[in-house]
């Protein structure tokens, strides 16, 4: 007699799928600790180049702090682009995407699991960069409001990862151009989002358009809160930026749900999304 297997359905299945996907991501990285050293050490050294540029031209300590905070937050963006938005593209390359679509769990749950797992790891890297960078360059922080700091951080994360979930479907339409698109989504985004300099240094129109990327407003708000002395360099007030980030998170989540549903229907009806296109 075959023993009955307990099967979760509904929200329990959703939660288990989230946890399962997050777990494999976290464990995968733990098995490659050398990767953490490479991924923290080398970017920190690269960040130092911008810091020394500021030193060479007489930039203030707060601007150096801007670079460190920007470099740390950029890890979340890297994680969103490489391990969220383009993840289904890589999964298709190695044959996992079809399994995801066949499995009874929801694709939203899989993406959410990837987001949670990735967020934890990106937070470890970002934290290390902030700690090491602050110690090495003697950065002092003047936090104006801890609750607002926490709120802005979590709203930024929600909006960023919702954007990644929304973009995951888009990447499935790509072939080899995916890698180039990722390239374009890194340094050009760092430029228009003011990752290494105050957003206000940019033209207001460019900053306005860049505000559609959650990294832009999230970083600007965080800087105004943790470098209260330089709050005048901010683009909008942190409270307005928080409200916009909340709006972006909701819009991106709704769009992600819609586009994933469309993508799943397309995969089943035409069988094209799961084919390997090197």
């Amino acid at each position: 007699m075959i023993p009955r297997i307990h099967k979760d359905t509904g929200w329990r299945l959703f939660v288990r799928t989230v946890m399962g996907r997050a777990y494999s991501r976290a464990v995968g990285y733990q098995r490659q600790l050398s990767r953490l050293a490479i991924e923290v050490g080398l970017p920190l050294v690269a960040l130092m180049a911008y810091i020394f540029v500021y030193r060479a031209i007489g930039g203030s300590q707060d601007l150096i702090g801007y670079v460190i905070l920007g470099g740390a937050m950029s890890w979340f963006w890297v994680n969103v682009i490489w391990s969220m938005a383009s993840q289904f593209f890589w999964e298709r390359q190695i044959g996992n995407l079809a399994l995801y679509i066949i499995a009874p769990g929801s694709m939203m749950a899989i993406l959410l699991g990837m987001a949670l797992g990735g967020m934890v790891l990106a937070a470890v890297r970002a934290g290390l960069i902030i700690v090491l960078g602050s110690l090495l360059f003697h950065i002092s922080y003047a936090v104006s409001s801890v609750p607002l700091l926490i709120l802005v951080f979590f709203l930024t994360m929600a909006a960023l990862y919702a954007m990644g979930m929304m973009s995951a479907s888009l990447f499935l339409l790509f072939g080899r151009e995916a890698r180039y698109f990722i390239d374009v989504a890194q340094e050009p985004v760092y430029l228009i989002s003011g990752t290494y300099f105050p957003l206000r240094s940019l033209n207001a129109w460019i900053a306005g358009v860049a505000s559609l990327i959650p990294l832009t407003l999230g970083l600007d708000a965080l800087r105004q809160i943790v470098f209260a002395r330089s709050a005048a360099l901010g683009f909008l007030s942190p409270k307005i930026e928080s409200a916009i980030l909340l709006g972006l998170a909701l819009i991106f989540l709704a769009a992600a749900r819609r586009s994933l549903g469309y993508m799943e229907r397309l995969a089943v009806a035409e069988g094209k999304l799961t084919e390997h296109r090197a």
């Binding site: 490479i38 690269a46 180049a49 240094s201």
Partner: protein, 282 residues
């Protein structure tokens, strides 16, 4: 033997070009190729403008701008060569076929780097033209020291190929996560080579690293040959062009010996450990 080297280099360059460029129309490919280096330059310009309120006529800006423009080649060649190892092994599963083909693997890697060198040259030229046209970069066609520029550039390509060989040899022993290894090393050398700020800005303990790498002298000589009307690195002002070129040649020779040794060791280790056809995607 020379014929094998040449055919390996030529075929790998052609292959690299196809892998890089044949997925789209040339104009779209060109846009993708120049976007990243131009953005990096834009970041640097914004850093500078934030502090100096846009004083682009300062010699410090010219120093930084030219160094950054030519440093594009460092990232391109090192990433091109190391990424080829990972891409061929993990994604296309062709590295083992390349190994058994009648090609010299070192020249094959160099060919993949050459493809990236060619594609990124457009970005370097555009960066320099933008600098001259809009940012007061003191480069005048008539005052360029052409013999120095050409000699420096040629030796520099050899140095970059050797750095690329060293990094791609190490990539043979690394898992798929090494896709960013070449880029990471290039980013680290960006700090030490005085590409965008004079080496004396570095803490005293780190300065010897900068003086030990050929890229420092390469960038300084390129600046001297291009920016005839602007001072170069304050750190190296006591050295004349010939002396600087001599140091650059000697360091390139030392680097070449180290790169070839690294390749021999990594190649043997990769074969022994079965890493030539290993797939590590997690």
């Amino acid at each position: 033997m020379l014929r094998t080297y040449w055919s390996s280099l030529r075929t790998a360059t052609w292959l690299g070009w196809q892998v890089e460029a044949n997925w789209t129309k040339p104009i779209l490919f060109a846009l993708y190729t120049v976007a990243r280096p131009l953005a990096l330059t834009g970041i640097l310009v914004m850093l500078y403008a934030t502090v100096t309120r846009g004083d682009f006529s300062s010699p410090m800006f010219a120093y930084m701008y030219v160094g950054n423009a030519f440093y594009t080649y460092v990232g391109a060649i090192m990433t091109g060569m190391s990424f080829a190892v990972i891409d061929d092994r993990e994604r296309y599963h062709t590295l083992r076929s390349v190994y058994v083909a009648p090609v010299d693997i070192r020249w094959y890697m160099a060919g993949r780097g050459t493809a990236r060198f060619l594609t990124d040259s457009a970005a370097v030229v555009i960066m320099l033209l933008i600098g001259i046209a809009f940012l007061h970069l003191p480069v005048h066609f008539t005052t360029i020291h052409w013999p120095l520029l050409l000699a420096t550039f040629a030796i520099g390509l050899a140095a970059l190929a050797m750095l690329g060989l060293m990094v791609s040899s190490l990539a043979l022993l690394l898992p798929d996560s090494a896709w960013s290894f070449g880029e990471g090393v290039a980013a680290a050398l960006y700090l030490f080579s005085g590409a965008i700020f004079p080496i004396q800005v570095l803490p005293r303990v780190l300065r010897p690293v900068g003086f030990a790498i050929p890229l420092t002298y390469w960038l300084e000589l390129l600046r001297r040959s291009l920016l005839v009307s602007a001072p170069g690195s304050p750190t190296l002002t006591t050295l004349g062009n010939l002396k600087l070129l001599g140091i650059f040649v000697v360091l390139t020779a030392v680097l070449s010996a180290a790169a070839l040794g690294t390749f021999r060791w990594c190649d043997r280790a990769a074969r022994e450990r079965g890493m030539i056809d290993r797939i590590t995607n997690h």
